[in-house]
């Protein structure tokens, strides 16, 4: 009856990153860090996990000699997020 919640997304920071990216076309690492209040190291680890799962794309480039990392959700990430929300809603509707 209940589908398991995706363990990749069922994590505070990874879920926050995906929720942020679902509403944006793309965002820089510094922007995501600011909005999620995460440390750079922890965020770096979590977005790598999302990338390894195929949920986000990461682009690294240099701007004014500074490294710039830009993240963008993938179609697979959108689908995973939608499924996660759907499953979450069924858990919550049963709890009510």
């Amino acid at each position: 009856m209940f589908k398991d919640l995706d363990p990749i997304l069922h994590s505070q920071l990874r879920l926050a990153v995906m929720s942020l990216l679902i509403g944006l076309k793309e965002a820089e690492f510094t922007f995501i860090r600011e909005k999620t209040n995460a440390t750079a190291g922890n965020l770096s680890v979590q977005i790598q996990k999302l990338k390894d799962a195929g949920y986000i794309d990461i682009q690294k480039q240099f701007k004014d000699n500074y490294p710039q990392t830009t993240c963008k959700i993938t179609p697979a990430g959108v689908k995973a997020f939608e499924d996660y929300v759907k499953n979450l809603q069924s858990y919550l509707s049963v709890k009510k």
């Binding site: 879920l15 929720s19 701007k63 979450l88």
Partner: protein, 199 residues
């Protein structure tokens, strides 16, 4: 953000908070609309006064407005392509608005060109007002901003009325009113709301 076991309610709260954060990035501060609206209103009023005082030729102020508009377009194109590094997040609506603005200004140029090559300005200005209404509706819908959506319909009403008037003075009054209703008032409301959100 520390990693911990999430409850379903906490998950939903995180999703809502982050989506609201993303929505804030899509809000327009209204400054562009205010500037554009006041310029349109100013030129309409000056032209109206000029029609009675005959200081200058009929379209004197519109000629300079056209030159200023071209410079503003050039400035925004240069800013977009060469100075975008300040943007840390890009939104789908932001991309849409960029394309919409390009289409809007190209179409304005088409109408202005038509008025300079045979189209009677008595018909050309109502067409311009109609175009303003279109832009305002798309912006208002994309931003879910009711004042703009309402303003679009009022603007169209003013534009449509323009087809039935017989004096250029009245056209200028209608055009100035469209600028006030369509750009200035919603622009100031958007600015006030944007300031409140970013306090």
């Amino acid at each position: 953000m520390e990693e911990k076991n999430l409850t379903e309610e906490e998950s939903m709260l995180i999703i809502q908070q982050m989506i609201n954060t993303a929505k804030h990035e899509q809000k327009d501060n209204g400054v562009g609309w205010i500037l554009w609206g006041w310029l349109l209103l100013l030129v309409s009023v000056l032209t109206y006064i000029n029609l009675y005082t005959r200081w200058f030729s009929t379209y004197y102020f519109w000629t300079y407005f056209g030159i200023l508009s071209l410079l503003l377009i050039l400035y925004s194109v240069v800013k977009y392509y060469f100075f975008r590094k300040g943007e840390r997040a890009r939104t789908y609506t932001g991309e849409l608005f960029q394309k919409l603005n390009v289409g809007f200004f190209i179409t304005i140029m088409f109408i202005i060109f038509s008025m300079n090559t045979g189209l009677n300005p008595m018909k050309g200005f109502p067409l311009l007002i109609g175009l303003y209404g279109f832009w305002i509706l798309i912006y208002g819908t994309a931003l879910d901003f009711k004042p703009s959506i309402i303003a679009a319909y009022i603007t169209w009403g003013l534009g449509f009325a323009g087809f039935f008037v017989h004096s250029f003075e009245t056209i200028m009054l209608l055009h100035g009113s469209a600028a006030l209703v369509g750009y200035i008032i919603p622009g100031h409301i958007a600015y006030a709301e944007f300031k409140k959100l970013n306090r």
